[in-house]
């Protein structure tokens, strides 16, 4: 296997991990974003939290594995990106920690103040995490000012611009919609009825932001379309994306949440794909000097490491997928509260 091919395979595998993460943790982040709005009583709040109770930590492992794989296969990119986004990533860690522990701590006491505190932290953590992921993606698409070694030379404020903030907001809306569809599948009765309106509301919020981001990136972020002129076949991807997004609404209207969920998964996958296509072959584009850009080729590990990684994936991934399937199957059906619930 040639060195280039290995790098490309790993770029694709990283995309698979990122898509897996975005779809799976996407719905539980979305549930967190909606949590204070859709649930009125304490019982409903618990139902909402328990809809993701057995699943969220398994979902988050996708992020950990993505991080590990990026570290192993593209150490330069890992080091440069993580140190460049120092404060945003510290904030992201805080968001993820608050979310994780608020799920665990909330049910442990029955006082109103106690539960409200963890409700707030659960919502804040989920929303902030979604926002920061989006901002990071928006920033990466535009590139950073980095040294020859790949060290970021700007400040945190340089990263915050209209485009990256818009991508951040779009991510929040997208995950909220994704989460609302998931919740609609997992709930019944009055709560479910209320969620119907939330599905539609978040859908339109996402649609509006999606249009803004699409126009903005096509017009002002050259990276996002530079491959499309070389490979016109790529236009099929955004086309499929529009169909998927349109289908989300159709399925919501027909009250077929599973189809809506599948469409929304597809839309997320396509958005991640478009992001990677915009970056390719860079992992971290340098705005000051294109030669400093960290690509999947100059940022890669040795071929032996990449081969060992492939072996690990070949052994590990089938196992992971099989017990992920078992667990989702075990916890299928409507969410219910029991002895061991949060």
């Amino acid at each position: 296997m040639s060195t280039e091919l290995l790098c490309i395979i790993w770029f694709i595998l990283l995309n698979v991990l990122l898509i897996g993460y975005a779809i799976l943790d996407g719905f539980d982040l979305g549930v967190g974003i909606l949590h204070p709005f859709v649930a009125k009583t304490d019982v409903e709040r618990r139902l909402v939290m328990n809809s993701i109770g057995p699943l969220w930590d398994g979902n988050e492992v996708w992020l950990v594995t993505f991080g590990g794989a990026l570290f192993a296969m593209f150490p330069n990119a890992y080091a440069s990106i993580f140190s460049a986004f120092y404060i945003p990533f510290v904030a992201l860690l805080f968001a993820l920690i608050f979310r994780a522990v608020s799920l665990e701590f909330r049910s442990k006491r029955s006082g109103k103040a106690w539960r409200t505190l963890w409700d707030i932290l659960f919502f804040t953590g989920s929303t902030l995490a979604a926002l920061l992921f989006g901002v990071a993606i928006g920033t990466l698409m535009q590139g950073l000012n980095i040294s020859e070694l790949g060290d970021y030379q700007g400040t945190m404020l340089d990263m915050l611009n209209g485009f990256s903030i818009n991508v951040g907001l779009m991510t929040v809306a997208l995950l909220a919609m994704h989460g609302s569809i998931y919740l609609y599948m997992k709930t019944e009765g009055e709560l479910q009825d209320r969620l119907f309106h939330w599905m539609k509301g978040t859908y339109f919020a996402f649609l509006a932001l999606f249009i803004v981001v699409t126009l903005w990136s096509t017009l002002f972020v050259p990276a996002s379309i530079h491959h499309f002129s070389d490979y016109p076949i790529l236009w099929l991807v955004p086309l499929l994306n529009f169909l998927a997004i349109a289908n989300i609404y159709r399925a919501i209207q027909q009250k077929k949440p599973f189809y809506a969920f599948i469409s929304s998964c597809f839309a997320i996958a396509v958005l991640v794909f478009l992001f990677s296509a915009a970056l390719y072959p860079n992992l971290l584009p340098a705005t000051n000097n294109p030669e400093y850009s960290i690509t999947i080729f100059n940022g890669a590990s040795s071929p032996l490491t990449q081969k060992i990684g492939l072996l690990i994936v070949a052994i590990g991934m089938p196992m992971v997928l099989s017990y992920t399937a078992i667990i989702y199957w075990t916890f299928r059906g409507k969410v219910q509260l029991g002895e061991n619930s949060y």
Partner: protein, 519 residues
């Protein structure tokens, strides 16, 4: 304060906090597997009750362990970017393997253990408990592999990074990557299994896992001894106490034996670290210091009380008490680890380890005589012993990591042919091959400013202190509540799923709440 110190403080603080939880979950995992096996074989409900109680505590610890564990992974990139570039090729695959082989396993099956007892068959539930225990152990394996590689690197070589460069005639070719006149290097894998089984992995892994078993067992001992003293949950407490006591004794004794060989192994590969543990300044017969206060500047120990030749005996199992032990004088000042922290933490670990053997030995003896119920002082000792065990566990970690300084990747040590001394230069000092290792001071992220590092350190300190407070509060509550009876299986429940209507759920839960139920 500079970024190096701030990043070191942050790493030390966040990993010490994190390291409270994985040992607890690994240790409790063994206990859960034992209890659930007994439950499966005997259908004695009391084992299931016990398993359920410890499962709840396991989950609490797991949640904080996961949350604080992501921080560790991120920090390699955020704070130690130069280090990450240097080691990513070898270190990263261990981390990725941990994600795929350990975390998915543990978090996946924990869902079933935590929420699924009523949803799956008994056999599958037992299987899930085993998988959770196995998953937590797997993650220890990969992390220890990665850590041991930094201490005693193997299975790799250091190479110049090649980059495509445009020549004057317009063609491109691969050439070493030079930035500001410095050739960039990194470690690359040559042999995966040599990397995994580097000279200290097995020693370090067995010591860490035994330490984890001890923490888990002493934790159970602490809670059940408390119940015994307070005359609560007697049957549960006795069951848990007896099982945990045996595990704690085996683990403590194992730690002692394994610790001895590990010290010898450390001397072989990192003699300056062992010299710092023992404040052994002058190469020659090694005395075993019992009481004292080392002074790195004066290169002596104040208030010294030592066993003459004791260290020689320990290092070589040498009954002449006279063999030469390499001391800190073989190393330049800038290559020596700090002395006081490794010296003290090493002593704390060994001292508390000895205490653990004595305590569990006494416990077994009185348990055998069936008089332990009357030895209230001993039971109270067990209630508080978990504190010492945790300190010992942390101290071992500190000794290993601070003793490695000033390196993040320790260069190899070259011994003379007869193995009694190091190959020293004309100045009498051992000269490390700097290209084969990486100094801590050269490992940090260039992109991070002092202000950013300060901010994050302050935030992590606040967050973790708050988390620790809430953790103790919730833990205390769980322990006060104690084990609760298992819920009876609902016969009307078809294949484990009740399609309860929303209203029914509301009604039931409202009723339970009104009756002051546990929810």
């Amino acid at each position: 304060m500079d970024v190096v110190l701030l990043s070191r403080l942050q790493f030390a603080f966040t990993i010490m906090f994190h390291y409270i939880f994985p040992p607890l979950t690994i240790g409790l995992g063994i206990i859960l597997a034992y209890l659930e096996t007994r439950n499966y074989l005997s259908k004695d409900k009391s084992f299931a009750v016990a398993c359920q109680f410890w499962t709840r505590i396991f989950i609490l610890n797991f949640a904080i362990g996961v949350a604080s564990g992501i921080v560790m992974e991120f920090q390699f990139g955020t704070n130690w970017a130069t280090y990450s570039r240097f080691v990513g090729d070898v270190f990263g695959s261990a981390l990725a393997a941990e994600g795929i082989f350990a975390f998915f396993l543990e978090s996946g099956f924990l869902a079933i253990v935590a929420f699924g007892r009523e949803r799956v068959k008994r056999g599958f539930y037992l299987f899930s408990v085993y998988m959770v225990a196995l998953g937590s152990t797997f993650s220890a394996i990969w992390i220890i592999v990665a850590n041991s590689w930094q201490q005693t690197p193997a299975g790799h070589h250091i190479v110049e990074i090649m980059r495509e460069q445009t020549l004057t005639d317009g063609t491109t070719s691969l050439a070493p990557w030079v930035v500001d006149g410095v050739v960039q290097r990194r470690a690359e894998i040559v042999n995966f299994w040599d990397l995994v089984f580097n000279p200290t992995t097995v020693q370090r892994l067995s010591h860490t896992l035994l330490g984890a078993a001890a923490v888990g067992a002493f934790f159970v001992l602490s809670v059940s001894a408390y119940y015994l003293l307070k005359n609560r949950h007697q049957q549960f407490a006795k069951q848990s106490f007896n099982g945990a006591l045996v595990l704690a004794f085996i683990a403590s004794l194992g730690l002692g034996i394994n610790g001895h060989t590990q010290a010898q192994n450390t001397y072989r590969y990192q003699p300056e670290k062992l010299a710092a543990f023992e404040a052994h300044f002058d190469t020659g017969r090694g005395d075993l210091n019992l009481i004292g206060w080392p002074d790195g500047e004066a290169e002596k120990i104040h208030f010294d009380l030592s066993i003459p030749g004791g260290l020689s005996f320990m290092m070589f199992d040498d009954f002449t008490f006279s063999k030469k032990v390499v001391g800190l004088d073989r190393f330049k000042k800038e290559d020596r680890p700090p002395i006081i922290i490794p010296y003290l933490s090493w002593r704390a670990m060994v001292g508390f380890g000895g205490l653990m053997i004595v305590l569990t030995g006494l416990g077994l003896y009185y348990n055998y005589r069936k008089t332990i119920q009357n030895k209230r002082w001993l039971l109270w000792s067990f209630v508080f012993a978990i504190g010492f065990v945790m300190v010992a566990n942390q101290a071992g970690w500190i000794a290993a990591e601070v003793g490695r300084q000033p390196w993040t990747v320790h260069p190899p040590i070259v011994w003379t042919d007869d193995g009694t001394d190091l190959v020293t230069g004309p100045d009498g000092f051992y000269n490390y091959d700097e290209t084969l290792g990486l100094r801590t001071s050269n490992s940090v992220s260039a992109a991070v400013s002092v202000e950013e590092a300060k901010t994050s350190l302050a935030l992590f300190t606040l967050l973790y202190l708050a988390l620790a407070a809430v953790w103790i509060m919730v833990l205390d509550r769980k322990i006060r509540t104690g084990p609760t009876p298992l819920k009876e299986h609902d016969e009307t429940d078809t294949h484990g799923i009740r399609h309860a209507a929303m209203d029914r759920q509301h009604a039931r839960l409202d009723k339970e709440e009104a009756e002051g139920g546990s929810i």
